[in-house]
Symmetry: C2
Subunit: 223 residues, 2 copies
DNA sequence: ACGCCAGTCAACACCATGTCGAGTGGAATC
DNA sequence: GATTCCACTCGACATGGTGTTGACTGGCGT
C-alpha cells in the first residue's frame, strides 16, 4: 500500500523527498516544533496541523517534507540513538581495567542521553505499539546493544572474571530490557518507579550481580 | 470532560451502565468478539464498528454497553490480572521452604497466565501509551506485585538467606520491570527476545543472583 | 522571455469516533 | 387489557483528524 519511498538513489533520509534546496529550514522547523510540543503534551495529542502551523506552513505542505507524523518522530529517534551510540563509545572494550566503573559508565551515559531527550524517548515508547516502523528501528538499535553486551559478558567469562551461567545473549537481552523498562517508568513517572537519582546505581547492581554474582568484580585476571 | 460514570451506587463495573437485565449476553458477545479479533489483528486496527458487528449490534448500541473501545480492553485486562493474582496465590509466604523452587513457581505462573492471554496483554501494552486509564490500572497492579516482592526480599534478608544491598523496593521494581519487558518481547516476537521455552529460567536466574548473589539460595536459616 | 521545478496551499474525499433523538417491545402496574 | 415505563436499539448527524489532488508562484538556468 505504501508507495515505494526514496524513488531516486539517495540514502533513506526518512524525512524530505530527495533533491534538497531552499526549504531545508522548514524541515528543521518541523523537527524543532515537534520537540517543543512534545515537551508540552503527548505525541498522540499533537496533530499534523499543529506541527505544520508551528513551522509556519500549511498542513498539505507538511507532507512535502515528511510522509507522516510518525516519520518526524522517527527522525528524532534516529538522532537520539546515534547520540547514545556515540556516548557509549568504546567503554566496553576497556572492561578489564575496572569492570564496575566501566559498566557504571556505560549505564550512566545511556541514562544521561535518554534523560536529555526524555520527551522523544517517551513518545517513541508510546507509538511503538502502533507504528511498525518505530518498532523496527528500535528493535535494530536494541539488537546492536544486546550484541555488544553479549560480547562483553563472554569476554569477562573468558578472562575468568565472570562465572558461566545463562547464555550470554539471553542475559544481555534481559538486562537491556530491564534498563529500558525501568528508565521508561522513571522518566514517565507513572507506576512504580525508581527515583531518578538512584536509577543508575540500581540498574548497575542488578547487572553486576547477574553477570559476576558480586557487586565488586575483579579487576585483573584471576583464573 | 468525561461525565461521572456509574451514576447509581453500584461498584465500578467498568463495562455496562448499572441495572442489568436481558442484554447481558450482548456485553459478553462484545468481549468475546474483542478477544477473537485481537487474535487476528492489533488493537488499533479494530474499530468500534468491528466490535459491534461482531456482537450483532450497531455501532451506537455498542456505546450502551461500553463507553469506548478502550473500556472493553480494560475489562479484559481486569480479568487477566485477577487470574494472575489468583495464580500467584501465596507462593511467596512459603519461600523459606525452597526459595529457588518458590521463586520459579511464581515466575512460571505469571508466565503461564500472561502467555495464555498474550493477545490481551500485548494490546494493553500497546495502548498503555495512549490511554491513561490502562496506564493507571496497570500501575496499580504492578504496585501490588512490587510490594509483595519487596516484602519477600526483606523476609529473606531477615532470615539471613539474602545479603543486604539495594533498597528492597528498588530491587523489586527493577526485577518486575524486567519481567514485563522481557515477556512483552517474547510474546510479541519483535526485537531481541528470549525464546519462550527459556524465558522463565532466564528471568529466574537474574532474580536469584540479584536477590541472593547465587542461583542456589539456602533452604534453612543460616545466620 | 521562457520553461522548469521546488515549494505552497485551498478544497476535497475519507474514515473513525461519539452524540442525539426517535423509536420498539416486554414486563410491571393499574 | 390498557398503560406506563425503561432497557435497549439504531438512523442520521456533527466533529476532527488524515491523506490527496490540482492549481498556483517565484526564482533560476538557458
Amino acid at each position: 500500500m505504501t508507495p515505494a519511498r526514496t524513488p531516486t538513489g539517495t540514502a533513506p533520509t526518512r524525512g524530505r523527498r530527495p533533491g534538497r534546496s531552499t526549504g531545508d529550514d522548514r524541515e528543521v522547523a518541523i523537527l524543532a516544533t515537534a520537540e517543543r510540543l512534545l515537551r508540552q503534551r503527548p505525541f498522540g495529542d499533537i496533530s499534523i496541523d499543529d506541527l505544520a502551523r508551528g513551522a509556519g506552513i500549511s498542513r498539505p505542505t507538511f507532507y512535502f517534507y515528511f510522509p507522516s507524523k510518525d516519520a518526524v518522530l522517527l527522525t528524532l529517534l534516529d538522532r537520539v540513538t546515534e547520540e547514545a551510540n556515540t556516548a557509549a563509545g568504546d567503554v566496553l572494550v576497556r572492561l578489564a581495567e575496572d569492570p564496575r566503573a566501566r559498566w557504571r559508565e556505560l549505564i550512566a551515559r545511556f541514562h544521561a542521553t535518554f534523560g536529555g531527550h526524555r520527551d522523544v524517548v517517551l513518545a517513541c515508547a508510546q507509538v511503538r505499539g502502533t507504528n511498525a516502523e518505530v518498532r523496527r528501528l528500535w528493535a535494530e538499535v536494541l539488537e546492536r546493544w544486546v550484541r555488544a553486551v553479549e560480547a562483553a559478558i563472554e569476554g569477562e567469562r573468558a578472562r575468568g572474571a565472570a562465572p558461566d551461567g545463562l547464555p550470554a545473549r539471553d542475559l544481555a537481552i534481559a538486562l537491556n530490557s530491564m534498563n529500558e523498562r525501568v528508565w521508561y517508568a522513571t522518566f514517565a513517572g507513572d507506576g512504580p518507579a525508581v527515583a531518578e537519582r538512584d536509577v543508575v546505581d540500581v540498574l548497575l547492581d542488578v547487572w553486576l550481580t547477574a553477570i559476576y554474582r558480586t557487586t565488586t568484580p575483579p579487576v585483573s585476571p584471576s583464573a
